[in-house]
């Protein structure tokens, strides 16, 4: 049958079936099972009202159970069995095999790098974009242009950035913008300014801002009389503080390395094959996509800040940086955490970008692509399922946090 016709029939059957189910089951409940008349009409109405929610919920619950809940347990079971032995229980053998593979550790460490860099960069850029566009006239146009990559598929974005990273032999015109820019540098004064001094400046100011933010977080713990959002935030504050310290150390280290490093001027680079750094070139794609999301949410949050708090701070003599980091950011902290966790979830599942751009070669493997390799190329269901469980484990803290918050909100 023609797929389009099949699709049309499916829509009609699916939608009609659903509506028919809801209508008929309600009719059945009201007219046949518990009719609202006769000697026990009142009791019947109550009974019908007890059952009705489940009629409404049944199709959704069935689909959720079958397509999301069941697979979690089934995958757990598969990760403990061996398909070649007819599905015999093998305990943790699959996990042992996985842990002995260097490719797994490569994927895991890359994933950790992604987990730090992408949410941080996307949130930071989103915050910057939100703050910049909030006050200018053509802000909404700017916003929708930055937001636009959200509509582009990971695969489409992969093609877009493959063109950006394209490499031609040295004697031809470069058609990738990155190499074209790169070849403008020959090691003279301009190169020093743009490739050493400017990055150094950015790194230094990044380290400065991180240190500042870290200090803001740690400060309330240092002087206990300050009530900093309750005891529940102390681990979070400590975590941010430690992370900030690590980032500062990292930036200082790379700052030192930057001046020692000899750039291969004049040679076109195949960006996606440079070990370690190629992961960053892949991350850029996801940051490019996710920044718009962060910007939209954070911009709404920034608008929700009561104007009086900002005015009061300015009257008290706060400079713009202080207003931003001490007045605005703390008030939208909850939203920042939401944005951060949402992007973290996207990062944990990132598959298409790596699959389309490097397919995990040149040490760019990530967990989701590793899992795909194991499941569908190597045909090792056990190991593949085990790595899926690892992804699930990484997701579960966010899952618990979300459920906890949702329950708190409903009370």
């Amino acid at each position: 049958m023609n797929p389009a016709l099949l699709g049309l029939i499916t829509i009609i059957a699916g939608v009609g079936g659903c509506i028919g189910y809801f209508y008929l089951s309600n009719q059945f409940l009201d007219k046949v099972l518990f009719p609202a008349k006769g000697p026990n009409a009142g009791q019947n109405i109550n009974r019908a009202n007890m059952i009705r929610p489940w009629l409404f919920l049944f199709p959704a619950l069935f689909a959720l159970g079958l397509y999301l809940a069941y697979p979690v347990f089934e995958t757990l079971r598969l990760s403990l069995t061996d398909r070649d032995q007819g599905g015999a229980f093998v305990g943790l053998e699959n996990y042992q095999q996985m842990f002995s593979e260097p490719k797994f550790w490569e994927a895991l460490s890359n994933n950790m790098l992604w987990l730090i860099v992408v949410p941080a960069a996307a949130t930071a850029f989103g915050l910057l974009a939100a703050q910049l566009t909030d006050r200018i006239k053509w802000g909404s146009v700017a916003k929708s242009l930055i937001f636009m990559p959200m509509a582009i598929s990971f695969v489409g974005a992969a093609v877009i950035f493959k063109l950006v990273y394209d490499t031609r032999p040295v004697d031809q015109n470069q058609i990738g913008i990155l190499n074209a820019v790169w070849l403008q540098f020959e090691g003279g004064v301009g190169s020093f300014l743009f490739l050493k001094a400017l990055p150094a400046l950015i790194l230094a100011s990044f380290a400065g801002i991180v240190a500042y933010v870290g200090w803001i977080f740690i400060q309330p713990i240092a002087n206990r009389n300050d009530e900093g959002g309750g005891v529940g935030f102390v681990p979070l504050r400590l975590f941010v503080g430690v992370a900030a310290l690590y980032l500062v150390w990292l930036s200082v280290k790379s700052l030192a390395g930057l001046f020692v490093f000899n750039f291969p001027y004049g040679e076109p680079q195949t960006w996606l094959t440079i070990p370690f750094w190629n992961s960053f070139f892949l991350m850029v794609v996801l940051i490019w996509i996710q920044t718009g999301f962060a910007m939209v949410i954070l911009s709404a949050a920034l608008r929700g800040i009561p104007e009086e708090t900002i005015e009061a701070a300015i009257v008290d003599g706060a400079n713009p940086l202080q207003v931003f980091f001490k007045i605005k950011v703390p008030q939208i902290m909850g939203t920042i955490v939401v944005v951060w966790t949402t992007i973290t979830l996207v990062v944990l599942k990132v598959f298409d970008i790596v699959f389309a751009m490097s397919n995990g070669q040149w040490e760019t493997q990530v967990l989701a692509n590793y899992m795909y390799d194991k499941l569908f190329r190597a045909d090792e269901w056990g190991v593949g399922s085990a790595s899926a469980i690892i992804i699930m484990l990484l997701v579960s803290p966010i899952l618990i946090w979300n459920v906890y918050n949702a329950r708190k909100e409903m009370k």
Partner: protein, 384 residues
């Protein structure tokens, strides 16, 4: 902010410039792909796409038409006349020309070059050339000319013709386009219906376990669909659906439901209680309240979710690869075909860029047309 004492107007310019830079940085890659999709293969490989926006200067080597066939005899002087661009293709405005590879810019257009012994050669700005000389000089191989021409930006629709209408099976995206559409529409419509009823029950009906169910749905919101691949594929094969559209629709429905229920429930909870209670007092059943009051009022939330689900299913690669695309390759979707093209036609940017843009175009249109609902959905959907 501007009316606040102490804020500086000089900061305004910095903000403007920073915003322009940021926006430029963000749209630059996409513009590159768009421009490239309108260029020929030669243009793409000879210069970067940013050069296509400006007049380009190109040096080209031409040879005049075969003198033995084309020469004409005017009073004992042999002449070959013609036009380089008409004979060899290309075009533009000639800035300079020359007869030797060492001096390709020796003459200005219209100038006459003396080649010795009365042999002359001239080229004008439009590419018309005149080569004159005696019988011996105007014979054998045609005179060479090195021409530097400035051509205006040139764009072509050929790539789109190839991708959409002609082209080999690997290049032609029409089939994949309709396959993607076939996946997308039912996968967007069905979850909405299923979720709307469930969301109503969770928002406006009182029953034991409601809070627990909502918590479970919030939890399922973040379950990675990677976990579902093998178990569900086995299930589909087990119950006889196998790989195909039906399985893909079901999978997309299942994966989209948590967000749909969550979004719709949050929206429905916010609807005014009075309307619903009045309707109940007037004797409306739950089913009537739902179809006649709640559904029409929930349109913004329905639209939000529909856009999400549409973008997600249209752009999806993983679910299609696992649940849809079989070994026959008849059911390939656009994302998958582009990944294949990246492998087989990695250097053919005219094909790749156009194919990618064909697949990007529809979501972009939807995005710009319904951005309002998308933003609203994002704001409601992020777990607070």
């Amino acid at each position: 902010m501007d009316n606040i004492a102490g804020s500086k107007s000089s900061l305004g310019w910095v903000v403007q410039i920073c915003t322009v830079l940021l926006v430029a940085l963000w749209i630059f890659p996409t513009v590159g792909l768009l421009v490239s999709s309108f260029r020929t293969a030669d243009q793409i490989s000879s210069s970067g796409w940013w050069a296509a926006l400006f007049p380009s200067e190109q040096s080209q080597r031409y040879r005049v038409a075969d003198p033995d066939e084309n020469r004409s005899n005017v009073d004992g002087v042999y002449v070959v006349e013609g036009n380089f661009f008409a004979e060899n293709g290309g075009g533009g405005d000639i800035k300079s020309w020359g007869t030797s590879s060492r001096e390709i810019g020796a003459y200005a257009p219209g100038e006459v070059a003396d080649l010795g012994d009365g042999e002359t050669f001239s080229v004008d700005a439009e590419g018309n050339y005149v080569w004159t000389g005696n019988d011996e000089q105007i014979s054998g191989r045609g005179q060479r000319a090195f021409v530097t021409a400035v051509s205006p930006p040139e764009f072509t629709f050929e790539n789109y013709k190839t991708i959409l209408f002609s082209g080999t099976a690997g290049d032609n995206m029409t089939k994949a386009f309709f396959n993607t559409l076939t996946v997308t529409i039912p996968a967007t419509v069905i979850p909405i219906v299923v979720a709307a009823f469930a969301a109503y029950a969770l928002a406006w009906m009182d029953f034991p376990g409601r809070a627990l169910l909502i918590a479970i749905i919030v939890g399922l919101l973040v379950v990675p669909l990677q976990l579902a691949l093998i178990p569900l594929l086995s299930l589909h094969v087990g119950i006889g659906i196998g790989k195909g559209y039906l399985g893909t629709w079901l999978a997309h429905t299942g994966f989209g439901l948590p967000l749909a229920i969550y979004l719709l429930r949050n929206y429905m909870v916010g609807l005014p209680r009075d309307i619903i209670e009045n309707a109940k007092v007037d004797g409306a059943t739950d089913f009537q309240i739902f179809t006649k009051i709640i559904l029409p009022l929930s349109f913004p939330a329905l639209a939000s979710f529909a856009i999400f689900q549409f973008l997600w299913t249209w752009n999806d690669l993983l679910v299609a690869k696992v649940f849809l695309i079989d070994s026959t390759g008849q059911t390939t979707v656009m994302t998958d075909q582009i990944v294949n093209l990246l492998g087989t036609r990695g250097g053919n940017w005219e094909i790749l860029a156009t194919a990618a843009f064909v697949s990007i175009a529809v979501p972009l249109v939807v995005f710009f047309a319904m951005q309002k609902y998308l933003v609203r959905g994002l704001l409601a959907g992020s777990v607070k």
